[in-house]
């Protein structure tokens, strides 16, 4: 058993039998108020999120969920199919993988983590950094090369991201999947 102040971002806690992942955790202490932890939680089963607050010494049940490496294979009907090294297939709905949906593209080779709860796959995590190709963006308006001026761009699956002004159609870019932010221009995957 841990206390609320020991719980960090990406830890998973059990509440009333359901696993919730901590998406944000902020510690606050002032005056005579007992220290509190403000947390944003996401229910890994339902996908619902909740802003919550805890006393710093509230007891919490942390769970370590099983994870295995998988890669995206194909989409069948409304299900997204991932396979592991032994070619076992795992089907997930768009709702199950809502947070990574913007980065799912055919032919992607990223090694993802399939997350299990009580023997059932409940979600998939992408690597922190992924590489994607720009499908469309306007030509540079200002000729900026610093990388500080940003402009909109669209990936092959329709996801919009802000990229550096010097990026062009067909360029490969690195994206931080935690924030959705453009990181840099990248080489094409091998």
């Amino acid at each position: 058993m841990k206390t609320a102040q020991d719980i960090k971002v990406n830890n998973v806690i059990l509440i009333d039998g359901a696993p919730w992942i901590v998406q944000r955790a902020e510690y606050t202490k002032s005056g005579r108020n007992s220290a509190i932890m403000k947390m944003k939680l996401k229910n890994l089963l339902s996908g619902s999120t909740s802003e919550t607050v805890y006393k710093f010494d509230d007891k919490m049940e942390q769970v370590i969920l099983d994870q295995i490496d998988v890669t995206y294979s194909y989409k069948a009907d409304d299900m997204y199919v991932f396979v592991d090294e032994e070619y076992n297939q795992y089907e997930l709905s768009a709702e199950d993988i809502e947070s990574v949906m913007p980065y799912i593209v055919d032919g992607m080779t990223d090694v993802c983590s399939a997350v299990f709860f009580e023997g059932k796959v409940i979600s998939v995590d992408l690597p922190t950094t992924i590489v994607r190709q720009i499908d469309y963006t306007e030509a540079s308006a200002r000729g900026d090369t610093s990388g500080k001026v940003m402009k909109p761009a669209r990936l092959a699956n329709g996801t919009n991201v802000k990229v550096a002004d010097f990026c062009e159609i067909g360029d490969w870019i690195e994206i931080d999947t935690r924030t959705g932010d453009y990181k840099s221009r990248a080489k094409a995957p091998a």
Partner: protein
Amino acid sequence: MKSWDIFCQVVDNYGDIGVTWRLARQIATELHQPVRLFVDDLHTFHHICPQIDPQRNCQRLLGVDITHWHPDSTIDPSDIVIEAFGCNLSESIISSMLARAQPPIWINLEYLSAEPWIEECHLLPSPQRHGPAKYFFFPGFTARTGGLLRERDLLAERDRFIIEEKAEFLTNLGVEPAPGSSLISLFTYENPQISSWLDTLVAGEASIQLLVPPGRIQADIEHWLGEDKLVLGACYSRGSVVIHPIPFLSQRDYDRLLWSCDLNFVRGEDSFVRAQWAGKPFLWHIYEQDDEAHLQKLSAFLQLYRQQLDAASAKAMTQFWIDWNRRQDLSEGWTLFTRQRDSLESHAHVWCSKLSMQKSLVESLAEFTQN
């Protein structure tokens, strides 16, 4: 009709029981709903409410059922359970809550603060491992908080008292206001620098009468006076300053003291709020924390309070409050503060009126729990 349980653990002083007792009374008298107050220290309770018998485990007063709360008490919970100031409920009480067909609404009533983060956390759920969910309820000074404890007829009662009963009340305390004299009530924590303030008062021309109930500042005053012990009913004169030791007062009479004085020095949480309802200038001696977190809380209140105060008054008030709370020399701060007394007085009145337009803490609680 909903029923309420309020749990209070007396940590120190009178703030915890002071706030929960007021809250319980208001639920009983204004919402007309059954309320039980569980308190772990009836002796402290007796100090602020002499009708409480510390020897009796269960008693009823002003519509509130009061129970001496032991850690191993087994309780069949009411519809609404309030744990005041993060006092932890036992596993047995939580199990009883879970066993109810309709689990209670479980509220953690927090300490008062003016810090902006209070608004973000007010009424947020705190889902527990095995339920039911608890909610954090933050009292505060803005519409996005839980508000302040304020009896429905408090301000009308205050205004009526000042006209009809103030003189008699002071006489009963053994205080005869001298013409042109300022009355100041003093109920703060220890502060050795009070000597610099008292020296400044004595050196000034203004006539001051200082009304001092028993409390933690008393030893510092005795030291300054060179007296072994302040004697109740006696008057200690030094220059234009007269110090009146007065008895420890019930909550009702303490309100009346605040209403009778021109300036109030208050401490903690309960008397801090009551001073604001008095509509008079005041100084807040905040509860001190080892890591100085209290200064952040003090600063947050000052920032809010002085928003509509003119620059000179805001500066004077801030300096005097900070000097007092940092236990620094008070002579310069006091001189600046007294220069702005008119402006501070008028602002205190405006501030009180503004706060009274907001929902009271009991109204906010009722709205949250009854809908």
